[in-house]
């Protein structure tokens, strides 16, 4: 559905050339939700703007539905853009137009007839739950409501793809959740493929099937959401994970605990989460597990349990216990203390 092939984007700045995006490949299949996460300045905003060519990549090709859009002449590109909706952090609504007109005006400009314009405007206002606000002006709405109008506007062109440029970053956590639920609903009920960028890990957690982690213009790690949440490899991915679950213990504490045993992070995914494995460990081996931290992360496609334990016991017993857990599908990561 969306294929970005070796995309690079260079900007000329006063201090010379800056490569905002560096050789990035992205492939979003129909009906999936993919997320790009990164700190500000990572290049993710430039990247998403390359998808509908608001930004022209310096190198690489963009394919939408199999058509290479990077080489299309402007009129054809406009047609291609009709099939790609976009929502923004700043909503970008017309301040001087009512909620209804904000949805109707673009449709009129795209050449739909009166009846169709009215049909669609009413239909999508209902989908986003703002039918009763159609006569209001944007400044009379809350941030979440404004984003709903923007979503309705994007949906009204009946796109196959929705691009979301930090759409929830200006919203409070509760509103963020309701907007994310709406995006999920759109994805599920209308089958719209979504590519979003964000700096909030909870956005990825709630709605993404696949994750790209970006830093300094590069995609430093990418994986499906469950894999990335269970086995992050890049330090930046780990940092982002720490923002939603307390994964770090202080190195001093770990060193202290290492004297009497090992400190290990256990990750439970899928069926391993259901078995009473920890209880089994203390019976089978001569070890005493002590839970230091524990949490559960609910992803779109599954649940992940995270436990950091201190296993007290003889070294061979501890190792045997860890091997037993490993064989039962538990993710194992030894935490090192101060060296």
């Amino acid at each position: 559905m969306i294929v970005l092939e070796n995309i690079s984007k260079e900007f000329n700045s006063k201090s010379g050339k800056v490569k905002a995006v560096n050789n990035v490949n992205i492939h979003v299949k129909k009906g999936e939700i993919h997320g790009v996460i990164g700190y500000s300045g990572a290049g993710k905003s430039t990247l998403i703007r390359c998808v509908n060519l608001l930004e022209r990549p310096t190198e690489g090709k963009v394919y939408i539905n199999g058509v290479e859009t990077t080489s299309l002449p402007l009129p054809k590109l406009r047609e291609a853009r009709n099939k790609i909706g976009m929502i923004f952090q700043g909503f970008n609504l017309l301040k001087t137009a009512t909620v209804y007109d904000n949805i109707a005006i673009p449709l009129k400009l795209l050449g739909y007839n009166k009846a169709e314009v009215q049909n669609r405007a009413e239909k999508y206002l209902e989908i986003v739950g703002l039918t009763d606000k159609h006569k209001n002006y944007p400044n009379q709405l809350s941030g979440g409501q404004k984003q709903r109008v923007a979503i309705a506007r994007a949906l009204a062109q009946e796109p196959e793809i929705l691009l979301s440029d930090e759409a929830t970053s200006a919203l409070d956590p509760e509103t963020t959740d309701s907007i994310l639920d709406l995006l999920l609903k759109i994805n599920r009920d209308l089958g719209i493929t979504i590519l979003l960028i964000t700096h909030e890990m909870n956005v990825i957690q709630k709605i993404c099937d696949h994750v790209y982690v970006m830093e300094n213009g590069y995609v430093v790690e990418q994986n499906n959401a469950i894999q990335l949440f269970t086995k992050p490899t890049h330090p930046t991915s780990k940092k982002f994970l720490n923002t939603i679950s307390q994964r770090n213990l202080s190195p001093a504490l770990i060193s202290q605990l290492h004297v009497t045993g090992s400190v290990t992070r256990l990750t439970f995914v899928g069926e391993s989460a259901g078995k009473p494995l920890l209880a089994g460990v203390s019976k089978k081996f001569n070890v005493q597990p002590n839970i230091l931290t524990a949490n559960i992360i609910e992803l779109k496609n599954g649940i992940i349990g995270n436990i950091v334990i201190h296993l007290m016991g003889e070294k061979d017993q501890v190792n045997a216990a860890l091997q037993f857990l490993d064989e039962n599908g538990v993710g194992i990561e030894n935490l090192e203390g101060q060296s």
Partner: protein
Amino acid sequence: MSRLEQFTDQWLPIIGKSVIETFQMVGISLFFSVLIGIPLGILIVLTRPGQTLQNKFLYQLSNLVINIVRSIPFIILLFFILPFTRYIVGTTIGVKGVIVPLVIYTAPYIARLMESALLEVENGVVEAYTAMGIKTRSIIWHVLLREARPSIILGLTISTVSLIGATAMAGMVGAGGLGDLAYRFGHLRYEVDVMYATVFILIVLVQSIQSIGNRLAARLKKD
């Protein structure tokens, strides 16, 4: 006969004629200034670096032209472009002769005011409409000009007021108007009443134009 009646009998027709002349000059030159100034304003917004139609040459050229014209005081411009005025309208005197310099004086001013009005429109909205695949022409009309309407109205109000000021100098080329009346009768012939009357009419005129402009802008503004 009271003094007031005497004054109105003697001067009302002359003042009335001057008011009409002023209205003529302001109306006609405002029309042409808007016709040139608004597109020029749109041009310098759209051709500036980073915009839809960015074009360094056009942007800098139009900026230069606007700045040059704006540097010349109207009284000097009036005489400076006499040959050009003759070339365009065939005469350099009367209402006809003053329209050309008035337009050349006002259009760049309007262009500058349009520029600042249009720059107030968030670029993100333009971007959102571009992303939907809407034509640049439609975006100019339905996004840029629409969103800038309140500031455009205020800008036009300011230009109208400054245009009224400029017409006062039009008397120099025999175009008449309120300024001419005040100068010729009020000043040169020591008819103090005429001077007071003219100033009073000008004050009322400017006040009303400004209030109408403010009210219109407020009605169009929705935030």
